[in-house]
């Protein structure tokens, strides 16, 4: 069992700055949890507290049912992969991998065996006798991961491990780490992982669950799909997804017999019944309407009348398979993603021209402007 539990975890620095505001979180045994947030949201601080590199001001951290607040890092059963690899520059790859075991007074034969095993798993065998400075970034990062694996920890900690790599390498390392997690899980080894990143692609593709943080608070913890589909608040909605969700400050108008309309400038959008019921229970007038670009389509004859908006196309970005089409509805700019073939068929020379768009309101979100909470869930 290597379940990690944060209970009311708080961090206040000696200068009085409150970095972490009493967070509660449970990370299941074997789970791959990604912690994501903008810089300064205390995601790294939280991870470092879990590692024991940073003291805990309040609350508790437990690993495998045991409170570890006062334990030094080496007694917590953790291994950590750092952003800049943190390989020991004067030791060969082999020594780097085996250093933790050597300190734990494991016999030489066992060290050799475990190092070789990890090296094989990460295809490091030909590099074992090199020094860190003779490795490329990707290789160095693999050694850093290997160093963690060799220790057979209860919990793996990753602190933005891929942000020093170039985009291509990052993509392949992403897959590698995910696969590794699965392999470890399959072989019944502890594989609970906490992965801190600011890259949402990593978060979406790697995490069993994602924890979104902001200013030392947890905004939402959920699976990538749920986080994307059902953001609990404005911050999560805006943070996850590229291109960003369209957000429009607007008014929610009750229009008799339990009907509601959203005013998008002078045009109106109706709410489907399902959304309506939820919105009415938390009704507030000043709202932010959010809709992801892929849920805005070109309107056709099947589009419901109260989901159509007239806009003027101002810009089109060619992304290869699709276009990001930016359009304005009077003073507001919105963005939609349209497949390249549709653009070629219907939108050639469309810049500056008017166009009808279908807003799929079932997939839209309505946030209270005051509380920033999603009232349409």
């Amino acid at each position: 069992m290597s379940k990690v539990v944060f209970e009311n975890l708080t961090k206040v620095y000696s200068n009085g700055f409150k970095a972490v505001h009493g967070i509660n979180l449970e990370i299941e045994d074997g789970e791959f949890l990604v912690v994501i947030g903008p810089s300064g949201c205390a995601k790294s601080t939280t991870l470092r507290m879990l590692a024991g590199l940073e003291s805990v001001t309040g609350g508790s951290i437990s690993i495998g049912g045991k409170v570890v607040n006062g334990l030094p890092p080496k007694d917590r059963g953790i291994a950590m992969v750092f952003q800049n690899y943190a390989l020991y520059p004067h030791m060969s790859v082999r020594e780097n991998l085996g250093f933790g075991l050597k300190l734990a007074k494991v016999s030489k034969a066992d060290i050799e065996k475990q190092v070789n095993e990890a090296a094989e798993l990460l295809e490091l065998t030909p590099l074992l006798d090199r020094l860190p400075r003779q490795l490329s970034g990707g290789q160095a990062q693999r050694v850093a991961v290997g160093r963690a694996i060799v220790k057979r920890p209860q919990v793996f900690l990753f602190d933005e491990p891929l942000s020093n790599l170039d985009a291509k390498l990052r993509a392949s390392m992403r897959v590698r780490i995910s696969d590794l997690h699965k392999t470890l899980k399959k072989t019944n080894r502890s594989a609970t992982s906490v992965y801190v990143t600011h890259d949402q692609t990593e978060a979406m593709t790697m995490g069993d669950r994602i924890c979104v943080m902001k200013d030392g608070h947890i905004m939402q913890v959920d699976t990538p799909a749920n986080l994307y589909k059902y953001p609990k608040n404005l911050f999560v909605a805006g943070f996850i997804g590229a291109p960003e969700m369209n957000m429009v400050e607007t008014r929610l108008d009750r229009t008799g017999e339990g009907k509601c309309h959203l005013a998008l400038s002078s045009q109106m959008l109706g709410l489907p019944d399902e959304k309506l019921q939820k919105v009415l229970t938390n009704f507030t007038e000043d709202v932010v309407f959010g809709i992801r670009p892929e849920f805005i389509k070109l309107a056709d004859e099947n589009s419901p009348q109260d989901e159509i908006i007239r806009g003027t196309i101002v810009r089109m970005e060619n992304m290869g398979a699709e276009f990001y089409v930016h359009f304005t509805v009077e003073d507001r700019e919105l963005c939609t993603r349209i497949p390249a073939d549709v653009v070629e068929a219907k939108l050639l020379d469309a810049i500056g021209k008017e166009q009808l768009f279908h807003f799929e309101m079932n997939n839209g979100h309505i946030f209270s402007k005051a509380t920033e909470i999603n009232i349409s869930l």
Binding site: K74, A79, M80, Y88, P89, H90, F99, R133, Q134
Partner: protein, 304 residues
């Protein structure tokens, strides 16, 4: 230098033919470089002249040293070396060499060990009133050594350590040379702490951290410290002069002075010959350690 600006020689010569601007540019650079080199060479020679003079005078007979300006000896003689080595005392110069090592080696070792430990403490641990202690440390660098001479002498006299090498190296066991501590602290502050954190997670305690991680990364700085301490200690005249009274314990610095005191006229060629030999260890040590100066050992582990 030229190659840096125009890496491709073939292209360069082709360009040269039909581009007068380029030709002028190159000539300008060449003239500039020549002027720079001439100036550097001149000052280099001015600074090296005393050294050359010392070497050449060591091979001259005594009467020629002050009578001719030429650096090349008219009468080549090894007498200076032979007589100088035998010295006017019952010991050979080799004895004084060894004497020097007897206190310089412990001095260097103690300096390195104590300075590294103190610097590690300053750079990596939270100590109460750390700022105050650090300012105090820096203040000791500014303190003239001569201020301490008398109290220190009295102290070592009370401890019965006069006429031994202990007063020369014992203080070094307590990181008394603030300059070295300061230098190491600055170096440590520049090192990323990630590796130390990784080692902590790997199971190092503070001492293992120091030995396995910090010391290897500090190697270039440690070598610099050792080198400075070695050269300064070999050159030290005042320390041995104050504490060493018997000739059999004299280090090189005092032994050279010994020959000057002789009443019937100084054998300058002997002194200069021995002085020439005396600087050999410093030069050799410097040449050996010089490579490590340049080696940025931590760079490999830090960036990809």
């Amino acid at each position: 230098m030229m190659n840096k600006v125009f890496p491709n020689k073939a292209a360069l010569s082709a360009d040269l033919k039909n581009n007068p601007m380029l030709r002028a540019e190159i000539r300008k650079q060449r003239v500039g470089a020549s002027i720079r080199y001439i100036i550097l060479l001149f000052f280099g020679l001015v600074m090296l002249y005393p050294l050359f003079w010392m070497f050449s005078a060591a091979f001259k007979p005594n009467h020629e040293i002050f009578s001719s300006l030429s650096l090349w000896p008219k009468e080549f003689s090894l007498d200076g070396f032979i007589n100088g080595w035998n010295t006017g005392t019952e010991y050979t110069f080799g004895r004084f060499f060894l004497n020097t090592l007897y206190y310089v080696v412990p001095k260097v070792i103690l300096t390195v060990i104590s300075s590294v430990i103190v610097a590690y403490g300053f750079a990596r641990f939270e100590i109460p009133f750390k700022k105050f202690w650090f300012v105090t440390l820096v203040a000791t660098i500014l303190l003239p050594t001569s201020v301490l001479l008398i109290p220190q002498y009295l102290m070592f006299r009370e401890m019965g350590m006069l006429d031994s090498y202990l007063p020369l190296y014992l203080p070094m066991a307590f990181a008394t040379q603030g300059f070295f501590v300061f230098m190491l602290i600055q170096f440590l502050r520049g090192l990323p702490t990630d590796m130390e954190e990784a080692a902590q997670i790997d199971g190092c305690n503070s001492y293992q951290l120091l030995w396995y991680i910090v010391v290897p990364m500090l190697k270039p700085a440690i070598i610099s410290v050792a080198l400075f301490q070695f050269m300064w200690s070999v050159n030290d005249f005042l320390g041995p002069l104050i504490y060493i009274s018997s000739v059999e314990k004299y280090p090189i610095a005092l032994a050279l002075k010994l020959s000057i005191d002789v009443t019937e006229g100084t054998q300058w060629n002997e002194i200069l010959a021995m002085a020439s030999i005396a600087i050999v260890p410093s030069i050799v040590v410097f040449l050996i350690a010089q490579n490590y100066f340049v080696e940025g050992i931590s760079s490999g582990g830090v960036k990809g």
